[in-house]
């Protein structure tokens, strides 16, 4: 029976073309993700190299007693910057998530952290607003449509074409016939999904490692559970009343609700329960802090037209100028750090609430699992920002100590500059989190199947009477 169903499936042109279209879209999305990641990596590598070259050159000049290289102030507030780069995890090109909103590297100076962290890379806001065309989008949004196309008439269509009546007359149990049909189509959909994931990884990943194989298995498993859920939902819809058109419309409405409206509603709830602190107010607070710092230093800073120490001659003037700048930056940093932390705290609260509410939408659950596996979820980005803030504090302290103590920078000091370590991405932790999502999807699918089982047993009892009548 399975063989017969498979050959029927092969003869349905809309499914064949639909599957091919899906594979093509996955390949395009994977290529697109790879292009994005490659350009971001190239930018980061360039910035890192420039930063290293500058530090190396200054270290040499410091050895020769160059005043700019030996002045901790000139280095801290102009000549030297630290480029910190986020570690790129396997599968990142496949689930871009919201990583496109943040650069994967930051260039930090010893000025207040707002100066480095508030800036966002210039980009096309229209593109950002419509979202990325990545593999996670294609699979989470479009795979259900393919499943719906394959399943929307699985019971009603058989009834309408009279096949079910024929099967009953031939002595086969309708439920067994339908379960076999459903199972065959479910397995076929899962196979197409695995093919799509494999294709995505072949096109999207630059190198193959042990992690790539794990990514393939993990993505395949998550998406199998997702396909299983949609297949079960389609069957549950079909065992109810109505013709195949009605089921198609209901399933389309289900897709709209579960894939678009519920995530949007969750987003709305989360944004209203935990509204983000105001960026406008942050700017105003920064202004207050700057004003307060400037007032404290105003008398001195006017001597240098605020930031033109070059207009006054003498080493003492330079030292005094940089001490004044460091004092201002210290005041601003102290005032602004709690505000930046408030943003992070609120973001963590939002993530937590989203995680609790995401179970309402299998699409959100699946997307969460895929971004967790690719380390492009909010928590991974927050970990990077946290590490960056901590690094910034060490970087600032390194220079401020020397500015306050009027200690010239030496060749060795440049070697002792703080080094940034991107937070490690634990695959095991990600797998554990994704496993919870898979189990939830699988359990919902099983519940739907149980419901269908009950309804199909009733169908076994009703159909012979209908045919006899």
């Amino acid at each position: 029976m399975i063989g017969a169903e498979l050959s029927l499936l092969r003869r349905e042109p809309h499914l064949k073309w639909g599957a091919l279209a899906l594979l093509m879209l996955v390949a395009i999305a994977a290529w697109n993700g790879r292009m994005l990641l490659e350009s971001r990596t190239a930018d980061a590598t360039l910035a890192l190299q420039e930063s290293r070259d500058t530090i190396e050159a200054l270290a040499k000049q410091a050895g020769n007693g160059n005043p700019t290289a030996t002045s901790p102030g000139a280095a801290a507030f102009g000549a030297v910057s630290a480029t910190i780069v986020r570690h790129i995890a396997t599968g990142e090109s496949l689930a871009i998530g919201q990583t496109d909103l943040e650069a994967n590297f930051q260039t930090l100076t010893a000025r207040n952290p707002y100066a480095s962290f508030a800036a966002s890379a210039p980009d096309n806001a229209l593109r950002l607003a419509v979202g990325n065309f990545d593999v996670a989008f294609v699979l989470v949004w479009l795979v259900p449509l393919l499943v719906i196309a394959a399943f929307f008439d699985i019971v009603a269509g058989e009834r309408e074409r009279g096949v079910l009546a024929l099967a009953v007359v031939a002595g086969a149990a309708a439920s067994r016939y339908l379960w076999t049909k459903w199972l065959t189509r479910t397995l076929a959909s899962i196979v197409v999904t695995w093919l799509a994931v494999a294709l995505a990884i072949v096109v999207g990943e630059q190198t193959w490692t042990g992690d790539t194989a794990i990514a393939l298995l993990a993505w395949g498993t998550v998406l199998s559970a997702y396909v299983f859920f949609w297949a079960a939902l389609a069957l549950a819809c079909n065992v109810g009343r109505g013709n195949s058109e009605r089921h198609a419309a209901v399933l389309a409405a289900a897709w709209l609700t579960l894939v678009i409206l519920l995530p949007a509603a969750i987003n709305l709830i989360v944004s209203n329960v935990f509204p983000a602190p105001s960026r406008v107010e942050l700017a105003a607070q920064l202004r207050e802090a700057t004003e307060s710092a400037d007032r404290a230093a105003a008398k001195d800073r006017d001597r240098w037209f605020f930031d033109h120490p070059d207009l006054r001659s003498g080493e003492a003037e330079r030292v005094a100028y940089y001490r004044s700048v460091a004092a201002s930056e210290r005041v601003i940093t102290a005032a602004i750090t709690p505000q930046l932390s408030a943003f992070e705290t609120r973001a963590a609260e939002r993530r937590e609430l989203t995680r609790r509410l995401q179970w309402l939408s299998p699409a959100a659950t699946t997307h969460d699992a895929l971004t967790v596996l690719s380390h492009t979820d909010g928590a991974s980005q927050a970990a990077f920002r946290d590490a960056a803030l901590q690094f910034h504090a060490r970087w600032q302290a390194f220079f401020f100590e020397r500015i306050d103590g009027d200690r010239a920078l030496t060749h060795e000091d440049y070697a002792r500059l703080p080094k940034f370590e991107s937070p490690s991405t634990s695959s095991l932790l990600a797998l554990q989190r994704a496993a919870t999502n898979v189990i939830v999807l699988f359990c919902i699918g099983v519940l739907l199947c149980l419901y269908c089982g009950v309804r199909l047993v009733r169908l076994d009892a009703i159909l012979p009477q209908e045919e006899g009548g």
Partner: protein, 469 residues
């Protein structure tokens, strides 16, 4: 005849319980989007007004200081929330809300609301514009797909055509009937939204709102004509529904993302690091072959000749003010060059997006809707350019004050509240409607092409119904 057919279609739809349920869901979602959109708009508007006033007050009350210190202290420009943003938030979340207007530098807008967005934000925002652009077409196609195809399934189409009726009359009648039903079903939310706008802002934005309504109605008519066309050429209602659902998913969700990312590949925006490096290089070397130091020296010699002196101290003006002015002229030219390139890259991406909207009228409508709601890239650019023009005026005022009211090497010079008041504060000017409309030309052309295509195709298909019902 047309009215009879229209009347029959209209009554059939209103009698159908599913249409009523659909209208209720549409109204509920619309009201939710309206309420949350209005609250968000009012909060943002009040907050930004407060912040703008606060910053202006800080500027006026900054006390006595050297004008160049005040130039570094600078001002902030906050982007106002335009009233129709409650309808279509557009790209606002992906653009910064404030720009620091300081000496020597043109800064990017910072504080993108999207940076604080909840994790599911990229699934979509439940705004009125989204509901009208994505859900209304779904409602229309669900109402229209059986128009011809279901009659073909039941055999009534053959009977109808046998009476000798012109298929085109049938097409127009169904178009009018279903269109009227769509108007009735979508009316409550539309009226409520218009009423809310009138209540909040009077008639100031009524022309924008009327044009928005017109474009949305135009779009709905295109979707309806396309749905009837597909229904007329489909072999069955089932296949009409499947084809229309597939077209809807691709046109509404897939193509905008592909277009956005294709733009990024074809016309990449320079990364922040590269942009900054290029700006710094040009600032140091000049962009017209003449170094800043050479320009300053040339101007100095001119002034020496004019005042017949041979030393800065002998000048009756402050040479430093002149130098600041020259530095600003140079930096303005450099920023114009690099911001111009950046904007050209974004424009190329938007042009490509417009070109691809030939495949999806939703994309064209999205652009028009953002323009008329004041939430487009063009509107953001107007804000940023206006802020930059003000910054340049502000710097010129402050540099002129230094030049005319102090002497060279006079760090003790202080200006006070009179100058700060005379320099003014940043104020946003609303864009005239005709300027916004000017940017809608290409998108309107796309909608016109779609109108010709769908109505023409639909009428041709309807005429053929007579020979092949």
């Amino acid at each position: 005849m047309i009215l009879t057919i229209a009347n029959k279609e209209f009554r059939a739809i209103l009698r159908d319980g599913r249409a009523l349920y659909g209208a209720i869901v549409f109204a509920l979602l619309g009201v939710l989007a309206l309420v949350t959109g209005s609250i968000r708009y009012s909060e943002l508007d009040a907050e930004r007004l407060r912040a703008q006033e606060h910053v202006a007050e800080q500027w006026r009350a900054q006390g006595e200081k050297n004008p160049h210190s005040a130039a570094h202290y600078g001002q902030y420009a906050f982007r106002p929330a335009l009233p129709l943003a409650f309808f279509d938030p557009g790209v606002q979340a992906f653009e910064g809300v404030s720009i620091w207007l300081e000496a020597h530098k043109r800064n990017f807008a910072t504080g993108r609301p999207a940076d604080d967005a909840a994790p599911l934000a990229r699934f979509g925002e439940l705004s009125l514009a989204f509901i009208y652009q994505a859900l209304l077409p779904l409602g229309i196609l669900l109402l229209a797909y059986p128009a011809f195809a279901a009659e073909r399934d039941t055999g009534t189409l053959r009977q109808l055509m046998a009476t000798g009726i012109d298929g085109r009359l049938l097409f127009v009648g169904k178009f009018v009937g279903i269109g009227a039903a769509v108007l009735v079903l979508a009316a409550p939310v539309t009226i409520l939204a218009t009423f809310a706008l009138l209540l909040a802002t009077g008639t100031r934005w009524l022309a924008h709102a009327a044009l928005l309504l017109m474009f949305y109605a135009w779009f709905a008519a295109i979707v309806l004509a396309a749905s009837l066309w597909v229904s007329a050429v489909s072999s069955s209602a089932r296949s009409a529904l499947l084809v229309l659902l597939a077209i809807w998913a691709v046109a509404v969700f897939v193509l905008p993302r592909i277009a956005g990312d294709l733009g990024r590949v074809v016309a990449p925006v320079p990364g922040a690091q590269r942009l900054q490096a290029a700006i710094e290089r040009d600032l140091a070397e000049g962009i017209d072959g003449e170094s800043p130091a050479s320009k300053i020296e040339k101007r100095r010699q001119q002034l020496y000749r004019l005042y017949k002196v041979d030393d800065d101290h002998a000048l009756p003006i402050n040479m430093q003010g002149i130098i600041f002015g020259i530095q600003d002229e140079i930096s303005n030219a450099v920023y114009d060059k690099h911001f111009g390139r950046l904007q050209a890259a974004v424009d190329a991406q938007v042009d490509l997006y417009e070109a691809i909207s030939l495949l999806s009228p939703r994309m064209a409508l999205m652009l028009v809707s953002q323009e008329l709601s004041g939430t487009s890239i063009g509107a953001q650019r107007r804000f940023a350019d206006g802020a930059e023009r003000f910054r340049r005026r502000l710097m010129t005022t402050l540099n002129t004050d230094i030049t005319l009211h102090s002497r060279s090497d006079d760090p003790a010079y202080r200006a006070g509240a009179d100058l700060w008041r005379a320099a003014g504060e940043y104020r946003f000017d609303y864009e005239p409607l005709r300027d916004s409309l000017r940017r809608c030309g290409a998108a309107a052309m796309v909608l016109l092409l779609w109108t010709l295509l769908t109505i023409g195709g639909g009428l041709i298909a309807a005429r053929r119904l007579g020979s092949n019902p």
